[in-house]
Subunit: 624 residues, 2 copies
């Protein structure tokens, strides 16, 4: 087993050196000539000037009669002028002005007689109701400068000015080469060890957003000769190449070597997290980039490096990313070794924005699908405390973020169903949920970082849910408790219940899968362990924590554990056996200041709707 170490070059240095290399190597745009009628959204390669005037002749701007203005002199209300039939010509809007006429009188202002004459009550000025040649565009005028995006109206103006074709920048084409022995095209029932290749889809989409096109090449196994071949083909066919995975320094990581052999490697290892194992190189004027295998790492490199490479192609500076200030909702710990990119959800709570870090490592694509923004933690910081004011780079439109309802706390699939119903209302409101457990909900409401908290907190003394916790943690009020759903908690075990688990005391028969500290289910577990006199330390798997009911169910289904507490709907989804333990109340704490918000009102409305009731019934195990 060989092992090599990577560079740890600061991001800014890596980017600048790489762009300088590409510039030196002659990486720049190509142009093409396309019909102007299809040029919408493209970037002009040069200034375009009008070849003809628009209108290109004197045109009537009204339906009426074309006259010589001289012939109408003196006409007024008292002294109408009568024009003989050879002194006027009927014209419609857009008709050319006849040679010897210089004005148009609107049809409404003319009285026609049966003898073919026309009576008018006011004189016509020269060029009255005439669109003179060049009124819109004069030949020679610059219609659009170079390096300008062609809007629909600019496309129209190009045609109006006689530019049937436009010279535009060719979109750069990036070849994407997925690699890896274990990588397979997406399928519905993959075998163990098969990793679904979805990264090329993510990066194709991102390239499209950057203004580039892509060719996705077939998956190449970890064989150096095959990889070299594939790279050579892509270099010859594309303006840039992305090699997916194999960019680290492991046993089968050939990306660095093959780029070196095809040209040169400038950087191997960037001081960012996630994203470190990236390779930046080039073959002549074709940039070749080795992206890390983990999707989140690769997305960081796409945003921080590849986006700038596309901008260099278009000879433009990248537009600054939009940023907002927000209060950090949870502490962030960071490494001094790397610049870190923390994905956060954003919400407008009260007057300001709140940023809550999304959990999940470099392999967790859903940490990006849920994220509204990025918090950059510089290399020289060890972390940032909750409550601090931070700068967030936006990943989506601020309008969407402002409309989002922030629900935090305990996880339940019904929250997602409410989110879905909300989306279907067409109101523009959406729901962002984070799973931090019931106590997390209490803390978020206290800190003012969420609109709603989802809780199921059992008071072990009274046996009552939620009420006493609200009294205890919000002694001064400021929140309302809204009834949610009743749901059945119980033990999930493998189909057929092989260990013969009958009640909670039987959990010692197998390996347990637990929920994270602070979750209502964890509190219930600890309450029951105590009640049955079971010692935590002796319970195998007690420290194996998952964040959602479905994650516990998935673990049991797969044999990572034998038993875990969870809700009925999760057991049903995974076709597990279920031993009911108790009914619990899953409620919502609402900040009183948010009760008037339209999105909160909509949430409560949906909670009481028929649609929601039907969906909860379909999930199973709920009472309303």
């Amino acid at each position: 087993m060989k092992h090599r170490y990577l560079d740890n070059m600061p991001l800014t240095e890596a980017r600048e050196k790489f762009l300088a290399l590409l510039r030196n190597n002659g990486f720049t745009n190509k142009t093409e000539i396309i019909p102007s009628a299809e040029a919408f959204g493209r970037i002009t390669a040069r200034a375009h000037y009008a070849k003809i005037c628009s209108p290109h002749y004197n045109a009537s701007s009204m339906d009426g009669i074309a006259v010589r203005s001289e012939d109408t002199e003196g006409a007024d209300e008292r002294n109408p002028v009568i024009l003989e039939s050879d002194m006027f010509t009927p014209v419609d809007t857009g008709d050319p002005l006849p040679e010897d006429r210089d004005a148009v009188i609107m049809v409404e202002d003319v009285i026609f007689s049966d003898d073919g004459t026309a009576k008018i009550y006011s004189a016509a000025r020269p060029f009255m109701n005439v669109r003179q040649i060049g009124e819109d565009i004069c030949m020679g005028d610059m219609l659009v400068p170079s390096f300008t995006e062609i809007t629909p109206t600019l496309a129209g103006a190009l045609l109006a000015g006689g530019n049937i074709e436009a010279q535009v920048l060719k979109k750069p084409v990036f070849g994407i080469i997925p690699t890896g022995d274990e990588i397979v095209s997406p399928k519905e029932n993959p075998e163990k060890g098969e990793i679904l290749e979805f990264n090329s889809t993510v990066f194709s989409g991102m390239l499209k957003e950057f203004g580039a096109e892509s060719i996705v090449y077939p998956i190449v196994p970890d064989k150096k000769e095959l990889l070299k071949c594939a790279l050579g083909k892509a270099i010859s066919e594309c303006d840039g190449v992305l090699i997916l995975a194999g960019s680290s320094a492991g046993r089968d990581d050939y990306t660095k070597d093959i780029i070196e052999e095809a040209g040169q490697v400038l950087v191997h290892g960037i001081a960012v997290k996630p994203g470190k194992p990236a390779v930046l190189g080039a073959s002549g004027n074709v940039p070749v980039i080795g992206l890390p295998g983990y999707p989140v790492s690769a997305i960081v490199i796409m945003n921080e490096i590849v986006k700038d490479v596309v901008a260099l192609y278009y000879e433009k500076n990248t537009l600054p990313v939009k940023k907002i200030r927000a209060k950090l909702g949870r502490r962030v710990v960071s490494s001094l070794k790397y610049e870190e990119f923390i994905r956060v959800t954003l919400g407008k709570v009260g007057d300001g924005f709140v940023a809550v870090p999304v959990s999940g490592g470099a392999g967790v694509i859903t940490s990006f699908t849920k994220a509204d923004g990025i918090l950059r933690v510089p290399q020289n910081l060890e972390g940032i405390n909750a409550g601090e004011n931070v700068e967030i780079e936006l990943l989506r439109d601020l309008g969407l973020i402002e409309n989002a309802l922030i629900v935090t706390g305990s996880h339940d699939p019904v929250i997602d169903e409410i989110a879905d119903i909300m989306k279907g209302t067409g109101t523009g409101f959406s729901l962002t949920s984070t799973h931090v457990g019931s106590m997390g909900a209490v803390n978020a409401l206290k800190a003012g970082t969420a609109h709603l908290g989802a809780v199921h907190l059992l008071d072990s003394e009274t046996g009552e849910y939620n009420v006493s916790f609200v009294k205890k943690y919000f002694p001064d009020g400021g929140v309302k408790l809204v009834k949610g759903v009743k749901r059945i908690q119980g033990l999930m075990v493998q189909k057929g219940n092989p260990l013969g688990i009958k009640d909670f005391s039987d959990i010692v028969k197998g390996t347990y899968i637990n929920r994270q500290g602070g979750s209502g289910t964890r509190i219930l577990c600890d309450f029951l362990l105590n009640k049955h006199g079971i010692d935590k330390a002796s319970l195998k798997g007690y420290y194996n924590e998952e964040f959602t009911h479905t994650a516990v169910a998935a673990g049991i289904k797969n044999g990572n554990g034998d038993v875990g507490l969870g809700i009925y709907s999760a057991a049903k989804m995974y076709d597990l056996d279920f031993i009911p333990v108790c009914d619990e109340e899953y409620d919502f704490i609402v900040s009183e200041s948010a009760l008037g918000n339209e999105n909160v009102k909509l949430f409560l409305e949906i909670l009481g709707s028929d649609d929601f009731r039907k969906r909860a019934e379909a999930l199973g195990g709920y009472g309303l």
Copy 2:
């Protein structure tokens, strides 16, 4: 000649009634199933749930060795544990964890011996360095709710969760039927009376921006039977139909009739300017809209009606248009009969934004290509005074607007060349110019509505250009005069000089084409008329005003007049004869507060550049 009158229904009422009609008639979205790998940018038609977990098996998250955590118990720096060769399995990142192993030790932390054993210095916790099944996505989890745009990462998450296909909303298809006897497809050398059909290009582009697709049908002449046929075909093939022109009430305007015969007409005439002669109707569940023939009128109807029809298809509210407050740079006069849509340019001058109305009527497409925003003047207002604070709806990104350098005043093609060079720098800076004449530049600088003013103002007493005007109008300073170019003013006459014009006094021999009041060229004209003792009233064409040198040249070329004052480069463009009258100095007044702006610095840099010098030389008639 028949003539009918139009309704004048307020916009809001027309829109609401129309959308209600379409809703009643069952106009709504259709769905389709497409590969998730191609779903980027599409809208989900339903919630999508994970069909498999991701990862769908326990996977090593490191290159290393897979072990049973039990076998490693007790290992520490002082007491290494030696694992026999059958107690560990080498694994790479992504490899499945072998059946009987539950943890991975990083390769860096293992010392391999030649005898096949491995030595470790720390114990492994269960599931250490293992991506447990469902770490990213659990089967059953909602991956994306309905009515949600699929981002690149969401497309990836769909695939990772086993959704190889996605059910998305079909993009609505709008048929576009251009009509009119005089309408022809764009060409380079149209005949008189041929109107180039570029509206379908503009509206296709706009539909794309709205999220719809389009089919552009062949141009149909003003024959009722042919129009009926074309409409019938489009209704059967599309989700909506736009008929271009023929929507008014003139001789050949059949749009209303054919929509009525195909279904119903709800509104004919909306109280907006431009945009009044629009027809809103439907054939069953297919909306059929008659758009006004003038492009700017039609664009207003596209933005105010068609955009909402597309939103109705997608069952969403249209997102509110982004707005900013700005100081109005020029008075706007409006009609009490209509809600008016005034196109404005925007610029950041000093601390705030300035909105300057763009001149040009409903037929002037360039009034939209130049516009950065829309000022809506409600029906009940007669106008808005210069300097008032108004709300502007943005047509382009605020970032682009903030970077724009606002140049106003006298027109010269060199300004466009500077704009083009500026675009090519890739700095993101752009130049917005408006042609309001030299005195307009002085007024704009005084009012703080421009960064730079372009002037060529002759002091008739001293014969000197610009300097005395700056002293007179800016007695307290606050501006700097920057030398621009010298240029030759002269008389433009038709090729061969048929009227034998030798000097300015000869202009009485023909019809003059003048420039607008306040322009430097107009001031020069009045000075010369005075000097030569020519009476304005006796000069034929004195009141025929144009706004640019090229517009005067185009008028002379076409015979709308015989002679006009203008610069050499305009005469050259139009292949006209040119009789030099004087050299003038075309300079720039710069607000001192703007001198430090990056875009102003860039402008001045370009003004002194070789590239600019070469371009001015190519235009001809300039000295630097």
